[in-house]
């Protein structure tokens, strides 16, 4: 630009705010981020208070208070390390800054690891939006759908079609008959269970009816353990789907923010021994962002894990 070659004005006039543009930008961005998460948290509060019930039993929802608490500690510790890193950058102690940024990065990974473990529990027990039965009949139908899917995968229906074909060779026929024979028992049990649920022979609108269905399913699973290992316990969770939606929406977006933070710190760490004062603003702004991520978790932890 042409004016860059002209001598600097001697005036003490300062335009704008007394902070670097990047820091101003970060704070404006954080302002929008506050709105972003306020919308989620506000919706969660409305949905929760507007519902007659809410799953709060951690045994049922597979919410791990200890691991959530540990993750809170991990983020707080990482926030503390970022502050130390930024202070070291200001004091031009870049080795110390790099050390603490590395620790922050590691703690971010630890946070994601614990989050992954918690998510694994949710996926393993099928605590997922749209997949949770909210009454006994839905629980029975879910078990039927899962069993039907397993039965379909065995290919028994296709084998029967092939057996009925006039072109099948005697060798192939014997092979298919043997395969069908091994599956016939499982097929009978699945069909029996399906019939009892679909025709409501268990009387699923009653507690004892639910217990009958549950016992029947357990018996079937005990009889065919290898085939039915993926069938979930038909746990009824009233308002479980909206709970799971809120949980995954809020913790998921938070986790995305953690990943972005890791990228920001990763870019600094990539400088290695070349880290110098030109990165001070970057570390400060990334630090502000990271503290915000910590701040969100400070509210998500009590709202989702304790209340």
């Amino acid at each position: 630009m042409s004016h860059s070659h002209s001598p600097a004005p001697a005036s003490n006039l300062k335009m704008g705010l007394p902070i670097p543009n990047s820091k101003l930008g970060m704070w404006l961005f954080l302002g929008t981020e506050i709105m972003f998460f306020t919308a989620f948290i506000g919706s969660y509060i409305v949905l929760r208070l507007g519902s007659q019930g809410w799953p709060t039993d951690t045994e049922v929802t597979h919410i791990k208070v200890f691991w959530g608490g540990l993750n809170t500690f991990v983020l707080i510790l990482s926030s503390y390390f970022v502050v130390i890193a930024h202070e070291s950058m200001s004091l031009k102690d870049f080795d110390k800054a790099r050390k603490f940024l590395t620790l922050t990065f590691v703690l971010g990974i630890v946070f994601m690891g614990i989050k992954g473990y918690e998510y694994y529990g949710k996926f393993d027990h099928d605590i997922l939006p749209g997949r949770i039965p909210e009454n006994n009949r839905q629980a029975g139908m879910k078990a039927v759908r899962e069993l039907d899917a397993i039965l379909d995968k065995t290919g028994i229906a296709q084998m029967r079609i092939e057996l009925a074909s006039p072109d099948v060779t005697p060798e192939r026929s014997a092979e298919l008959n043997a395969a069908v024979a091994t599956l016939a028992d499982f097929e009978t049990d699945v069909k029996g269970f399906r019939k009892n649920v679909v025709e409501d022979r268990f009387d699923l609108n009653t507690k004892t009816g639910y217990e009958r269905m549950e016992h029947s399913l357990e018996e079937l699973k005990t009889k065919h353990p290898d085939r039915t290992s993926s069938v979930h316990h038909p746990q009824v969770i009233l308002y479980g789907n909206i709970f799971a939606s809120c949980y995954f929406l809020m913790t998921g977006f938070h986790a995305i923010h953690v990943i972005v933070g890791l990228i920001l710190f990763g870019l600094v760490l990539k400088q290695g021994a070349n880290l110098d004062e030109t990165w001070t603003d970057w570390v400060e702004n990334s630090g502000l962002y990271w503290h915000f991520v910590d701040l969100v978790w400070i509210f998500l932890f009590p709202l989702l894990y304790i209340v």
Partner: protein
């Protein structure tokens, strides 16, 4: 940019023992878990307790870790709109919370309450030929609330 150096020096002049803030945050986290563990506590007291602790933790992070305590008055101008909007949003949603116009007669509530009323119906037992016999001696399943 002359103000850049000013901003950095500003921080260096404030000797903050960040480790104390960190310890305070850890104590607050422990307090949250303690409130959760107190079984005799009324639910409302628990909610207010953990949210108050969360607010205290958030204040610590914003004031010291994010340096807002030491920043100039620009922080008020910059954060006022978002703060007003963030407070305004829950207030705008308040009618939803307070009026609570949701229909109470949703099917799953009816079904669930009926099921919980443990009233065995007059339905036929499952077929014994290919199905499993009913066993009412099984322990009651753990149900959600």
């Amino acid at each position: 940019m002359a103000y850049r150096d000013t901003a950095h020096h500003e921080h260096e002049h404030h000797e903050v023992k960040y480790v104390y803030i960190f310890i305070a945050l850890c104590v607050f986290t422990g307090l949250s878990i303690l409130v959760d563990a107190l079984h005799g506590l009324p639910y409302a007291a628990k909610v207010v307790g953990v949210l108050a602790v969360a607010a205290a933790k958030a204040s610590c992070v914003m004031l010291w870790f994010m340096h807002l305590k030491f920043e100039g008055n620009w922080k008020f101008i910059l954060l006022a709109p978002t703060t007003i909007l963030a407070i305004g949003l829950p207030i705008a949603l308040m009618p939803d919370v307070a009026v609570n116009y949701y229909i109470k007669d949703v099917p799953q509530v009816d079904d669930y309450e009926q099921a919980m009323a443990h009233a065995p119906g007059g339905h036929s037992a499952p077929e014994s030929s290919e199905d499993h016999p009913p066993n009412t001696e099984q322990p009651a399943p753990e149900k959600s609330h």
